[in-house]
């Protein structure tokens, strides 16, 4: 368990290494799926080729699409592609870079499937057994006196051990086709490695500066999206806190008028018992079961509007600056908003010029 946790932490440290981890997991899954999959050749002339080659091609396509689905950056790419231009220009090289990095990672699992399948040889054996020339393997008279269709049917049955009696022909044919299949597999691997080598190792010869630029900005887009999500979450949290706070204040004000309760003054005690004061503050004047029930009922039936009152806080601050004690809230009308007048009233000092400007 510890090992998994450590690996998990290491992979999550970095977005890129997380993607590499997913890529590696998919490659292993691809190899495992191949070994678990039960290959059963149909052994009929019309279907052998389709089955053999289909099993070589369709699972890789599926893995490739799965790689796109599992990659988080696909939605970032789509967003960047579709957004209106607005104040920020769109750079097509960034889109190309993001797409190519996603595609490169998604191509690994299909490549693993294709190479494992070619090294194993069963697909090729099933697909190409009807094209064999049995004379090559020895002097066998099995095919004498057969019609063309019968010959094809006989050849098609070679991959199935139980349907073909001549074991030595089957062994020889299996070895021959497997040898060709493995040669194709190694050539495929060589081609992929050479392509990757040309792309990665030779690239610094061309446009290294442009590459650094695209790498920076594509990473920036990803980070900006995350920062925006975090900022929205923080904002929503603060918004909710203030909204609920104002709701409770509002209800508390109503309770006071209804029940003529004496609220404990919020700051009239000068003793240093901060804990007791903060608890009292947290209660916000609601101390009876009926009051609390009313609060909860109102929260469902009549939620407050999504508009925080600013002038109340401004008014309180004004009072504070003038040294007034904090009394009941002024200008409060059961949670309805006032139109906030746009005004600048602050005295504004610029530390550079040491001048004061009032607006």
């Amino acid at each position: 368990m510890d090992k998994f946790r450590m690996m998990f932490q290491f992979l999550q440290a970095n977005q890129e290494s997380f993607m590499n981890g997913i890529c590696g997991i998919m490659a292993l899954a691809s190899a495992q799926m191949y070994s678990v999959f039960e290959f059963s050749c149909p052994c009929m002339p019309e279907y052998n080729y389709i089955y053999g080659i289909g099993l070589l091609i369709i699972p890789p396509i599926w893995f490739f699409l799965l790689g796109f689905v599992l990659n988080n950056n696909v939605s970032v790419l789509a967003e960047e592609w579709k957004r209106p231009i607005g104040k920020r220009h769109k750079d097509p090289t960034i889109l190309r870079y993001m797409f190519s990095s996603i595609a490169q990672r998604s191509l690994i699992a299909p490549a693993v499937w294709v190479s494992v399948s070619l090294m194993d040889g069963k697909s090729f054996f099933c697909a190409f057994s009807i094209n064999l020339d049995i004379e090559k393997f020895g002097n066998y008279s099995v095919m004498n006196g057969l019609t063309e269709t019968d010959k094809l049917k006989l050849l098609a049955r070679i991959p199935c051990e139980k349907l073909f009696e001549h074991q030595e022909i089957r062994d020889a044919a299996s070895r021959y086709i497997k040898c060709i299949s493995q040669a194709c597999g190694w050539m495929f691997l060589l081609m992929i490695t050479l392509t990757a080598f040309l792309i990665r190792a030779i690239r610094p010869c061309f446009s290294q500066a442009a590459f650094l630029k695209t790498k920076y900005w594509s990473h920036y887009i990803d980070v900006e999206r995350k920062m925006f999500d975090e900022a929205c979450k923080d904002h929503a949290k603060s918004f909710a806190k203030v909204c609920i706070h104002q709701y409770f204040e509002n209800i508390s004000g109503e309770m006071q008028t209804l029940h003529h309760h004496r609220t404990t003054g919020k700051d009239d005690s000068d003793d240093g018992e901060d804990d007791k004061r903060s608890d009292e503050e947290k209660l916000m004047g609601i101390r009876a079961q009926d009051d609390m029930n009313k609060v909860l009922w109102n929260w469902h039936t009549c939620k407050p509007p999504l508009a925080l009152r600013k002038e109340q806080m401004e008014g309180e601050n004004n009072g504070k600056l003038n040294g007034n004690a904090k009394g009941a809230a002024n200008g409060l009308v059961n949670g309805h908003t006032h139109e906030v007048a746009k005004k600048e009233w602050a005295v504004y000092y610029n530390w550079r010029t040491e001048g004061a400007r009032e607006g």
């Binding site: 050479l194 920036y220 980070v223 900006e224």
Partner: protein, 330 residues
């Protein structure tokens, strides 16, 4: 677990040791690949040699290119080689050192593959069983009607029925395997002697001081590139944060500047309110939030945070009658 962590930390401490670690891992992968590969000799005279030599040569080429790709120094070396001179002069010795180090590390996995195939012997048997003189061994099956070449080509295949009840196949296999292992051990011995001689003779031909310098500067280039990438990542993060905050603040409908209050007038409630208000950046209505989210999609802000980064700070000072500063806050 702790030991593994220590080992990982040791390897990650130095860029050279990371490359060594990756090199060793690739050699182990090479061995594992050989053991899991199902070697399948075709046992036909015209294809045996082709297949065997292919299996002995193509995987090492693949492993070599993989070794070059996976090594970090490849990128560092190519960049240093291709960069314009600019303000920093180029030192060809550094590029040569990086190149030779990269090639040496990349050659390890292919050599391991070749040695393992030679010591195992299957590939040699498949390739050269046709060239063995059958007269050296007794028990050649001569009742099958096949010519000698085809019989010799079938020697690598154990299951073939013509070799049942005969020790001919085993004798030929042992003979060819013995040759294969001899070649393998000789190559290994040659490589080790070459390495030892190189190590012993190098101080006579190399200027130690210059080689210390080259090693230092090549390590420096690697570290510099890593730090540059890390700094770019951190910078992008800060840039994004400021850009987002600036975007939020641009949506403020009022321009009230909230002054920080003197401490004696504050109580904890006010602080809480201030903090939460600060986090709202002035966006406090549903319509404002909707507008903000809409604008974020339709018109992303320009990539310019100079306003935020160089915001002039307010400074409020309370003075007494004589002009002495009582309290100042930024």
């Amino acid at each position: 677990m702790d030991r593994l962590k220590l080992v990982l930390q040791y390897f990650q401490s130095n860029s050279e040791s990371i490359s060594n670690g990756i090199c060793i891992i690739l050699a182990l992968v090479s061995v594992k690949l050989y053991t899991s590969f199902d070697f399948n000799c075709p046992c036909l005279p015209q294809y045996n040699k082709l297949y065997s030599l292919g299996v002995m040569i193509v995987p090492p080429i693949i492993l070599f290119f993989l070794g070059v790709l996976v090594n970090r120094h490849t990128g560092v070396m190519m960049e240093e080689w291709m960069r314009p001179v600019g303000n920093r002069s180029k030192n060809p010795a550094v590029v040569k050192y990086l190149f030779s180090a990269m090639i040496q590390r990349a050659l390890l996995a292919p050599m391991v593959w070749i040695l393992v195939t030679l010591l195992d012997g299957k590939i040699f048997i498949c390739a050269f069983s046709v060239s063995v003189d059958p007269a050296l061994f007794s028990g050649l099956p001569n009742n099958t009607g096949l010519d000698v070449i085809k019989i010799m080509a079938k020697v690598p295949c154990k299951e073939d029925i013509i070799f049942r009840n005969s020790s001919f196949r085993k004798a030929v296999s042992r003979y060819v395997r013995c040759y294969s292992q001899a070649v393998g051990w000789s190559i290994l011995l040659f490589l080790i002697v070459l390495g030892a001689m190189g190590r012993l003779i190098k101080p006579y031909f190399d200027d130690h001081a210059t080689s210390l310098q080259t090693r230092y500067w090549s390590n420096y280039l690697d570290v510099e590139q890593k730090l540059f990438e890390e700094t770019c990542v951190l910078h992008a993060r800060d840039f994004a944060r400021k850009c987002v905050v600036q975007f939020f603040e641009d949506m403020r409908e009022d321009a009230v500047l909230r002054l920080p209050q003197p401490l004696f007038l504050r109580n904890s409630r006010e602080e809480w309110d201030d903090k939460e208000e600060e986090r709202l950046h002035g966006v406090s209505k549903q319509e404002q939030v909707d507008q903000l989210l809409n604008k974020w999609y339709h018109s992303k802000p320009e990539l310019d945070v100079t306003r935020m980064a160089h915001r002039p700070r307010t400074c409020v000072t309370w003075e007494d009658r004589e002009g002495r500063t009582l309290y100042s806050d930024v």
